[in-house]
Symmetry: C2
Amino acid sequence: MITRMSELFVRTLRDDPADAEVPSHRWLVRAGYIRRAAPGIYTWLPLGYRVLRNVERIVREEMDAIGAQEVHFPALLPREPYEATGRWTEYGPSLFRLKDRKGGDYLLGPTHEEMFALLVKDLYSSYKDLPLSLYQIQTKYRDEARPRAGILRGREFIMKDSYSFDIDDAGLQKSYDLHRGAYIKIFQRLGLEVVIVAAMSGAMGGSASEEFLAVAENGEDTFVRSPGGYAANVEAVRTNPPEPVPFDGAPTAHVEDTPDTPTIESLVSVANQRVPRADRPWQASDTLKNVVVMVKGADGTRTPLAIGIPGDRDVDLKRLAAQLEPAEPEPFTEDDFRAHPRLVKGYIGPAALGESSASKIRYLVDPRVAEGTRWVTGANEPGKHVFDLVAGRDFTPDGTIEAADIREGDPAPDGSGPLQLARGMEMGHVFQLGRKYSEALGLKVLDSNGKLVTVTMGSYGVGVSRAVAAVAEATCDDKGLSWPRQIAPFQVHIVAAGKDEPILLAAQDLARKLDDAGIPVLLDDRKASPGVKFADAEILGMPTVVVVGRSLAEGTIELRDRKSGQRDNIAVDEVFDRLLDAVRGTDSAA
Amino acid sequence: MITRMSELFVRTLRDDPADAEVPSHRWLVRAGYIRRAAPGIYTWLPLGYRVLRNVERIVREEMDAIGAQEVHFPALLPREPYEATGRWTEYGPSLFRLKDRKGGDYLLGPTHEEMFALLVKDLYSSYKDLPLSLYQIQTKYRDEARPRAGILRGREFIMKDSYSFDIDDAGLQKSYDLHRGAYIKIFQRLGLEVVIVAAMSGAMGGSASEEFLAVAENGEDTFVRSPGGYAANVEAVRTNPPEPVPFDGAPTAHVEDTPDTPTIESLVSVANQRVPRADRPWQASDTLKNVVVMVKGADGTRTPLAIGIPGDRDVDLKRLAAQLEPAEPEPFTEDDFRAHPRLVKGYIGPAALGESSASKIRYLVDPRVAEGTRWVTGANEPGKHVFDLVAGRDFTPDGTIEAADIREGDPAPDGSGPLQLARGMEMGHVFQLGRKYSEALGLKVLDSNGKLVTVTMGSYGVGVSRAVAAVAEATCDDKGLSWPRQIAPFQVHIVAAGKDEPILLAAQDLARKLDDAGIPVLLDDRKASPGVKFADAEILGMPTVVVVGRSLAEGTIELRDRKSGQRDNIAVDEVFDRLLDAVRGTDSAA
């Protein structure tokens, strides 16, 4: 069926949507692919839905190819299974919760680990039934605090989620590798440049996990890469602790007057004036900065936490949050300081911190604060700092935490060289869940010896609606969208540029030929001016634009490649073959 | 790809699910097509999901064929548009409502009239943009008071809903007819025997509406048909009022003692004893029965309503409820009688009823209680009835209501003969909405004279998940499911009946050939006994079962037709061609 612009439900818009933060959002709305229904909730218009279904098809083919079987769960789910694994509470305000007419508790599924585990428990009972991989392409819900960038981070979105079930760890590794391989193919087929990075498992639980990040300036996620091949989400970067330093000859700690030094900068400056050091000036990295935050548990409780990091670094809130999940860090307010009078703002030191201290505030330090390291840090009195305070001699923290920021040039933890920072969008996430869910829900099978063993699980997600935005983001330019062939809504966009009967007939004739050949074609048969039609064709972004216009009288038709902008005048009777070649990939220039 | 029973995620169950009320539910669960996740909420397993997607494909093709364009709306919707049309309240407890993290009100969409109207308002502005038909195949939510029969009446289900937009009534009629035609084709392709009946518009609003009912003993809906072609949902049947009867010579009404006659039966008996009539005995149809109910509004208020019907009929609660929608009838309790002391239970008569009576209770009568008709009815005193009470002379009701039951043999309202009663399942519903939604939401376009006119709408639904159950219901037998080719999960089910290597190889070889020819094939390669495999093949219900077994040694393979049970031994080298013919429809016997 030929789709005609005169009938297609689409309107290109002249103005950017007010809330557009990134190009993909701007163009998907302006080109009439999506439309906002509520914050973070979008409607797919005909062109957008065609792209979405093309992405779905690619994902489905690759999942089928690794033997995963498609099922479909409800989105409206009962509370009990999520209660059993703790996620009903742990998910916090990101979970949409509701009650039915009888007062029963329900949720809108964010992911379906519990439901899949229960389904397999329901039907399977033997090691002979495994391995098993199931998947679905389904609408998911997360009540994001800050939905943004259109369909890049929405509150209702489409995900492919799959779950693997194995009898042992070796099986899980195999299922994990199969999914990992399928994901590499999916993103290759989508034309996305993707980096696989080590990631935090977060609220999902489990041991190992990796993220597939599409490299993108506007990505929300920061990741690091080293020349030697290390790659990790910034939240997952581990800092190698230095070797313990011997401190036998170290001077005794001494408190010094350091008036008006509530910041590291002021402290370094005053220390160099009043307590100069012989070998070199004091630096920010000689100081130990103690930051207090409130940790809000999923149950709503607030507990103070102190974090000690070298003074030349900042606490990275996203890294900190990843460590605390499902709890969340909140600022330590003036009221909180009043409630903890032992904490002297700007001059907090280790003596006032720690679970065995008088404040009982848990105290975690950066791994760089290793045994024997010497620090200038707060003395818990206004205008005073303590010098030569030795970790492991003068104070013992309650543990370490990865909360300091990661910087360009920091060493990769595996020794593969200095880290580079880049930004990306999370397109997929693979988790080795292990037995967290199967244990909580009692998913066991008989092994070959007739013994009950707990099944080990993996969980694997691809953001399907997000992939539409990611491809748009990677391919759009300053004129509009520019789709790769694999997922373009139409392969060919024919513009009838002129009102003469022969032009319209030739355009229709070509459209019919392409349609007969099974090539999705969009025909601009409107009464609008050629200029309006050309501009729309650029915004809508089909890979090949065909202009049937004045040159028809001279026996030629113009082919435009949307991506390169290249234009070729082709003899009328060669146009169809050239288009076939272009669509089938033998001639990428057309 | 060949699907193997040894790997397919399916288990056939020996026992019926405890809550199974109808065969389709029983078999869909026992055959491992669906699985209950919560009351009225089901998971689609691999086989079920294949059927569902086949139904979706048929629906999509027929919608595309009438030029409707596919879009996809969210299921999570903001309150405001539904507030504007009144449906936020009118839907009552059937609407799933929830709040987001900021306290905003949301709902899970039951249907999307509001959202489509707003989308068109957003993008279109001229009569030149119309007509327009949009559709989606999407997950819907209704918090049914009594979810039942598996996916036949669920709380989360899949619907195809479409909406037409026209400049005038003639356009609406055209769009309506196009949808009606497409629906006829859809149900034909699904192999469902469907009756189109006049229906009530209910909470949806609008003028005309028709339902597509699949004829089924276990259907929830009762409908009527006449020999002359009249067909209506029982809720929508109109009773032709009789011509007014002259009452000039009628005797004056007179109250008689009728002790202990709280029921019609006792009243008729006592009347014949104590107040015999000259021409013939009193009959139930001579009496006027007055029934009081409480009407609960969507806002929770309860208002009494009295209904007068001939004593030989009963109030049909579904017909009454359809008249009152979105309000609902509730029983008149003992407490309610105490609160209305003028109502003498068992002896309620017209003198105590009516908005202008002392009780102020609205009084609606059956259309048969026409002007001039004479009745025996309650005298509002215990043990007393009034005789020869003439409608229009002695009492004037507040109006009429279609609440009396419809009976086999009642005349069709269009004079096309006596009505027959039958049962069906609602598979589709088409509504001429008119301007209810476009007026409430301000959907107007400029007409050819540059004047703003309100767009007229139609709305059209097909139960997609329900269609899976309806086809199962219509085709299953006492051995299991039995799918028609159009939507069967697999066309051919090959049973390797035996453990010998040649049998397994021949079965695999045939499966590979069919798969190469693009025919969906299921291969039972399990180590189970032939008996187990045959029973499973009957439960699973693929149209053709191929048995590769002992007869292979004699050069034949058995073909079984699941529906007819016919078995044919076919020479090995003819089997493939016979199967091709069967699948492609040239040989319905195989």
